[in-house]
């Protein structure tokens, strides 16, 4: 499994506007929900919020990787948003966040899923990649950047 397996072009958005962390997580839950029922979307949102209560998923340098578990999903699903305006996310470095990768995994959270998190953290720690993500003109380009380096995520 690689990051490319998590994403579809439809789950990559740019210039998203969100007025608060909560609104952002709601929008993210909507994107991540493949089933499309209000219940499943709600469950994903609540899991994301539950995780944020343990500590912000904001990394340094404007990146956040909110993640959660849900009984409604059968496989790991990812979604990416680039925000039009950086948003306060309680990150440790106090920097506002503009690149957000959401991940939701089935209830039985296995090591495999944790590896996704490690891979994502590694991917977004690459300043060259984040610069390209910020400079990309449209969602298709962003999708290409995120999925292009596929061998990076193989391990």
């Amino acid at each position: 499994m690689q990051i490319i397996d998590l994403l579809t072009p439809a789950r990559v958005l740019v210039d998203v506007r969100a007025s608060s962390k909560k609104r952002l997580l709601e929008a993210l839950a909507g994107l991540l929900d493949e089933r499309g029922t209000p219940d499943s979307e709600r469950a994903i949102f609540e899991s994301l919020v539950r995780r944020e209560r343990l500590g912000s998923t904001g990394l340094a340098h404007g990146i956040a990787i909110p993640h959660g578990r849900s009984a409604d999903v059968t496989r790991a699903v990812g979604a990416f948003m680039r925000l039009a305006e950086p948003l306060e996310f309680d990150s440790l470095d106090r920097q506002r966040v503009d690149l957000v990768f959401g991940l939701v995994v089935p209830e039985h959270f296995t090591d495999q899923h944790l590896m996704f998190l490690a891979d994502l953290a590694e991917l977004f720690s690459d300043a060259a990649i984040t610069a390209r993500l910020r400079a990309a003109p449209d969602a298709a380009t962003v999708y290409g950047i995120l999925t292009g380096g596929r061998e990076r995520n193989a391990a």
Binding site: L54, G55, S56, G58, L92, L117, S125, E151, A154
Partner: protein, 571 residues
């Protein structure tokens, strides 16, 4: 024979001594070491000081092949699966398609620029088509270049696995030229399939067999490395006899054997490193002896031009074409393209046309020598500055001065690592070490000192530490790096942040970990403080199912202020 053997022996021994001592020069001057070995061979040879007249092409080929087989086995043995998987797709594309493209481009240049007829031009292209594992490994591992893992893995796996392709191309072309067949037909394709298929199959089988044999037999300890070397050569030659690619087989066997639990694995690695050095020296010096440098001027211009074409045009184009689907950055393309060192394998392959009496064989051999020289000089010397210019060098991380890998009989799986403390060692500012570090011995001015108290440590002391192997990079940060680990250091402090007030069971539930009933309801801070007591230190870590909690920062009262969550990568 009996009268002359001392004479022969002293020559061989002197050559080995000169080669080994010259590595000192090479490391200081930054000259590619293999170039130095080759030059030692030149100097000893018929046109040099030694005036040794050695022109037995077949003997050189045999010596070189055996040496290469050992080098390939070792390079497979030392490649962890993790690295292999990380780079398999791009590296194997380079090792197959890349070799063909490079060979084709060089052949075209030789044909168009210097009027070589096509069969000869193609043969030359194939001969210089593969990147040399020895040269790449040496430059990347020993040469002090720390490029990003993904780039390094790609280059190492490529260079370790591309020789069979080049060997196959050369053997195929030589066979075609000898039989005067005029087209590459079905027969050639089936030959290719047989070579690769048998090479892979027998390599896998051989690797597993080696592990089984070594783990089954109860031998005198020192015999295992010899046994493994002999088994590797047996896999190599048996595959060749069966019609497969012995070079591919021996590489695959090394990869398989090196990644399974094998008795005395560390000792095997050490022995093979020595053996690889010996093989390199034997191979390069022999090839240097075989050369007739006085013949080089005749092909000087084409040799140098083709060497430059290879370095600046053929290899970079082939690299870009092969790596395009894999999302490498532009700088990484440039670097992988530039680290296309040619080496012993090319020269070895160039012997074949001579040995088989192909027209122009000697000229091809001389051309190959020049191309390899150009590659070693131009690329070998410029790799380190280029890596820095392309900003591909990851920050210098001074490591342990000595790693003593102990084959402990139990499951302890600890290694003994030694560090010499420098003035800025972060450890000098600390009062204690994280618990996963077990100091064993402190040596000052040649004497071991009894106190294990860190506040007594001074720059210049050597500290020996027991640590689990996968934690060594963390230990490097703590002891050898010029400054303490920075807050953004994910490996050291964990990927995510955890609020210290979080109840431990909520955290555990979220990540599917289990905590004891009596710990439920505790906060993360309390959990860590109970675990570590008053002596809690920045960098202390504790496992919690699939995750680890790391103490990131203490406040003035030495209470835990920040906690990191690290996702454990299984060693």
């Amino acid at each position: 024979m009996i009268e002359t053997y001392n004479g022969v022996l002293i020559v061989v021994a002197l050559l080995a001594i000169v080669s080994i001592v010259s590595t000192l020069f090479s490391l200081r001057a930054g000259a590619p070491i293999l170039l130095v070995f080759l030059v030692v061979g030149f100097m000893a040879g018929e046109d040099g000081l030694g005036n040794i007249n050695f022109d037995n092409a077949e003997a050189a080929f045999v010596i070189g092949s055996i040496a290469l087989a050992l080098v390939l086995f070792d390079s497979g043995f030392g490649t962890p699966w993790r690295i292999f998987r990380l780079a398999a797709a791009p590296a194997l594309t380079l090792a197959t398609v890349g070799v063909i493209l490079t060979a084709g481009l060089v052949a075209t240049a030789a044909h168009v620029l210097f009027g070589l007829d096509w069969p000869q031009a193609l043969l030359l292209g194939a001969i210089v088509g593969s990147t040399d594992a020895a040269a790449v490994f040496f430059l990347l591992r020993v040469g002090g270049i720390r490029v990003r893992e993904r780039v390094r893995a790609t280059l190492e796996v490529e260079s370790g696995s591309n020789d069979p392709m080049a060997i196959f191309l050369v053997l195929g072309l030589v066979a075609l030229l000898r039989s005067d067949a005029d087209a590459i037909g079905l027969e050639t394709l089936s030959l290719f399939a047989t070579q690769m298929g048998l090479g892979l199959a027998l390599g896998f089988a051989g690797g597993h067999a080696i592990v089984r044999i070594v783990n089954r037999l109860e031998l005198e300890g020192a015999l295992y490395p010899l046994l493994v070397a002999a088994l590797a050569l047996a896999v190599f030659s048996a595959t060749n006899l069966a019609g497969g690619s012995g070079f591919l087989a021996v590489y695959v066997a090394g990869l398989v054997a090196g990644n399974r639990r094998i008795r005395r694995g560390n000792e095997l690695k050490r022995f093979q490193q020595g053996l690889t050095w010996l093989a390199q020296i034997a191979m390069f010096v022999t090839l240097g002896l075989l050369a007739t440098p006085s013949e080089f001027p005749a092909v000087l211009v084409p040799g140098i031009v083709l060497g430059l074409v290879l370095a600046f045009v053929a290899r970079p184009l082939a690299t870009v074409a092969c790596l395009l689907p894999f999302g490498f950055s532009r700088a990484e393309h440039a670097f992988v393209g530039w680290v296309g060192l040619r080496g012993a394998v090319s020269i070895l392959l160039a012997i074949l046309p001579v040995a088989y009496g192909i027209d122009g064989g000697q000229m091809l051999l001389n051309l190959t020598f020049l191309i390899v020289l150009v590659s070693l000089v131009v690329q070998g010397w410029s790799i380190a500055p280029l890596a820095r210019a392309l900003k591909l060098v990851i920050p210098e991380r001074a490591g342990a001065i000595e790693r003593i890998q102990l084959d402990l009989p139990s499951e302890a799986a600890h290694e003994l690592v030694a560090y010499r403390l420098h003035d800025d060692s972060p450890i000098l500012g600390r009062s204690a070490l994280p618990r996963w570090v077990k100091p064993a011995l402190i040596v000052r001015d040649g004497q071991s000192i009894r106190s294990m108290r860190l506040d007594r440590l001074r720059a210049g002391d050597v500290i020996y530490v027991f640590v689990r192997p996968h934690r060594i990079p963390l230990l490097d940060r703590l002891i050898a790096s010029p400054r303490p680990p920075e807050p953004g250091d994910r490996e050291f402090f964990g990927e995510f942040e955890i609020a210290p007030e979080t109840p431990i069971d909520e955290l555990a539930d979220f990540y599917g970990a289990i905590v004891n009933q009596d710990k439920r309801g505790q906060t993360v801070r309390r959990f860590l403080e109970r675990e570590f007591g008053d002596a809690v230190e920045v960098g202390d870590r504790i496992g919690l199912g699939p995750i680890e909690l790391v103490v990131r920062r203490l406040d003035e009262e030495r209470r835990i202020a920040e906690v990191g969550l690290s996702i454990t990568r299984r060693p």
